[in-house]
């Protein structure tokens, strides 16, 4: 917090972030500035390095070069759990739920992390009851309330995605990283989930990867376009979508 500008303005900043896999540059010299209380989209063709970027930002994989500053603090060498505890939480592109636990417990386990006392092996699990109310609220927000007592593994694909979103929100993160939150959802759910994201973003920051341009247009304040690991363009939806290079590399003719 030495620099007040970071605290108020930029929640996440990277400098020259790069990742190389055995000579293949998945992410090359990416500098991002994510402003607080905005929804920022990371788009780009498949294989552009978006998910890799997420993995780097949450330190799931170590960067080959470059720095990451979160709230002005250098977290490049941190570990994923600490990053999450620090308030930056991600969702996964390929859906990730606790399949053997009930839908409700999936959310509660996240709430519990926030509340602490998770090493208490001598206490009764009944202490978790206090999270039930909040958990049901979150489930209701993603239309999963009726399935609260099902095993998460038995949900259909789209509902798993919704559950993952609810779990992520449970942690009330300062910064949420969403990897394709809309993918796999039915149309009827796209609207509510989009609204949900808009709603949660009101008092926090969202960085999301999404291929659904309609959703991106509706939600995002700012867009960074990646191509072949490098930043191709950055700006508002209108700026970016009118960029010829972006059209050629990503949007394609039909969406012009």
């Amino acid at each position: 917090m030495t620099n007040p500008a970071h605290a108020t303005d930029c929640i996440l900043r990277t400098e020259g972030l790069s990742k190389e896999f055995l000579g293949f540059h998945a992410v090359k010299d990416v500098s991002l500035n994510i402003r607080r209380h905005t929804i920022h989209a990371l788009i780009g063709p498949n294989g552009a390095g978006k998910t890799t970027c997420f993995n780097l930002l949450t330190t799931f994989i170590p960067a080959s070069a470059g720095r990451i500053y979160y709230n002005g603090r250098d977290i490049t060498k941190s570990d994923p759990a600490s990053v999450a505890i620090g308030g930056m939480v991600r969702s996964f592109q390929i859906s990730a739920v606790f399949g053997q636990m009930s839908v409700l417990d999936n959310v509660r386990v996240a709430l519990q992390r926030k509340a602490g006392g998770t090493f208490a092996f001598w206490r009764s699990a009944r202490v978790l009851e206090r999270h039930t109310g909040r958990a049901r609220e979150l489930l209701a927000a993603v239309n999963l309330e009726p399935y609260a007592d099902l095993c998460a593994a038995d949900l259909s694909y789209g509902r798993k995605r919704a559950l993952e979103l609810a779990t992520t929100l449970a942690l009330e993160p300062e910064l949420i990283l969403l990897d394709e939150p809309i993918a796999g959802l039915g149309h009827e759910d796209i609207g509510p989930v989009t609204r949900l994201i808009a709603q949660v973003a009101r008092d926090r920051t969202v960085l999301m990867v999404e291929h659904n341009m309609k959703v991106v247009a509706e939600l995002c304040d700012r867009i960074t376009v990646l191509q072949a690991g490098e930043v191709l363009a950055e700006g508002s939806y209108d700026e970016v979508s009118n960029d010829a290079r972006v059209r050629e590399a990503y949007v394609g003719g039909a969406h012009a």
Binding site: T58, F60, D79, P80, A81, S82, A84, I85, V89, R90, S91, F92, A96, V97, F98, G99, Q100, M101, S102, D105, R108, V109, A110, Q112, R113, G117, T118, F119, A120, F121, W122, R123, S124, A125, V127, L128, D149, L150, C151, A152, A153, D154, T167, L171
Partner: protein, 337 residues
């Protein structure tokens, strides 16, 4: 909650009372030493079950905790003149220390690699036990005195010792039950299910696994320490991989992820070994057959199958809508008794 838990809830008091009665009267029906052996192995199997069933890590080296605690207790009691209770606690502490040390190495890996690391560590402990002067090599530490509990109660009498061991084992089982049904247990389940997701929620998973492993080691050590007092001997058998395998067999036969499973499993395996003890090859053939049968037919183990049966029956008895609830119930609710 689930149908089965209602069954157990309904009959909880009755079942607990029946269990208590059985424990109290058992030594008048059966040979107390046999019962104590059974309890020690049940505890060993339960400690292993904590790792396999609830953390999802298959330890193939639990004998190293069981056996080394046996040696530690025997040595402390026989050579240093420790009180038996203190000796057993010392044994459990030694096991916990070994657990914490090997755990640091092992928990970084999952799956088969974890099993193999624990096996390798156990083999090393075995060779150390074989070579160290204080363990008595192939002879073991024999003639361990049973002594007086807290300097007051002589444990020479099998019956007295039985009740002491019983209290300790029941307490240990209560602890395991508590761990499984604690916030900590809930986190373990989550980690077992999907580790990257647990990390991304901010759980430092290795610490949870290490704590679970150490707890499990300490409990196995408790069992091993008591066994050496009961039998007045600590030997290589208890550190050998065969014991690790038997502990696993007990868990599987009884049913992993159930509280009573290890008890029933220990009962079956120990009784079987006792009945057939005159011929080792018969033990092998029968044990092998049990393995095959359980794996092929009763994969959930005896207790697990009974639970599933009760669940099915309970569901059939309900209204059609309720019966349509999917059979796969969430795991956290599937743990009974």
């Amino acid at each position: 909650m689930t149908a089965t838990s209602t069954f157990f809830d309904r009959h909880r008091t009755v079942l607990l009372a029946a269990g208590a009665l059985a424990l109290l009267t058992a030594p008048f029906v059966a040979y107390p030493i046999f019962l104590m052996k059974l309890m020690c192995f049940a505890l060993l199997a339960a400690s292993l079950n904590l790792m396999v069933g609830y953390v999802g890590l298959l330890s193939f080296g639990h004998a190293m905790f069981f056996g080394s605690a046996g040696y530690a207790t025997a040595h402390a009691v026989k050579v240093w003149g420790f009180d038996p209770a203190l000796g057993v606690l010392f044994g459990a502490a030694v096991a916990a220390a070994i657990g914490a040390t090997t755990g640091v190495l092992a928990i970084r890996r999952a799956g088969i690699a974890f099993s193999m690391i624990t096996l390798a560590c156990a083999q090393l402990v075995y060779f150390i036990a074989l070579r160290s002067p204080f363990t008595g090599g192939e002879d073991g530490i024999q003639n361990v005195p049973r002594g007086k509990l807290l300097g007051l109660l002589s444990l020479q009498d099998n019956l007295t010792l039985y009740y002491v061991v019983m209290v300790a084992v029941v307490a240990a089982f209560w602890l395991i039950w508590r761990v499984v049904h604690s916030p900590f247990g809930q986190v373990l389940t989550a980690i077992r299910d999907n580790e990257p997701r647990a990390i991304s929620l901010g759980y430092r998973v290795n610490r949870y696994k290490l704590l679970a492993f150490t707890l499990s080691a300490a409990l196995a050590g408790l069992a091993g320490g008591m066994k050496s007092i009961v039998f007045q001997i600590a030997t290589l058998t208890d550190v050998s991989w065969v014991t690790s395998g038997e502990a696993l067999l007990m868990g599987i036969v009884g049913g992993l992820q159930t509280m009573l499973g290890p008890v029933v499993g220990a009962m079956v395996v120990v009784t079987m070994a006792n009945q057939l003890s005159a011929f080792a090859e018969a033990v092998m053939i029968v044990q092998g057959t049990v393995f095959v049968l359980v794996v092929m037919l009763f994969r959930r183990g005896i207790v697990g199958e009974i639970n599933a049966f009760l669940a099915r029956r309970a569901r059939l008895g309900q209204t059609p809508e309720a019966a349509a609830v999917p059979p796969r119930t969430p795991r956290a609710g599937a743990v009974h008794d």
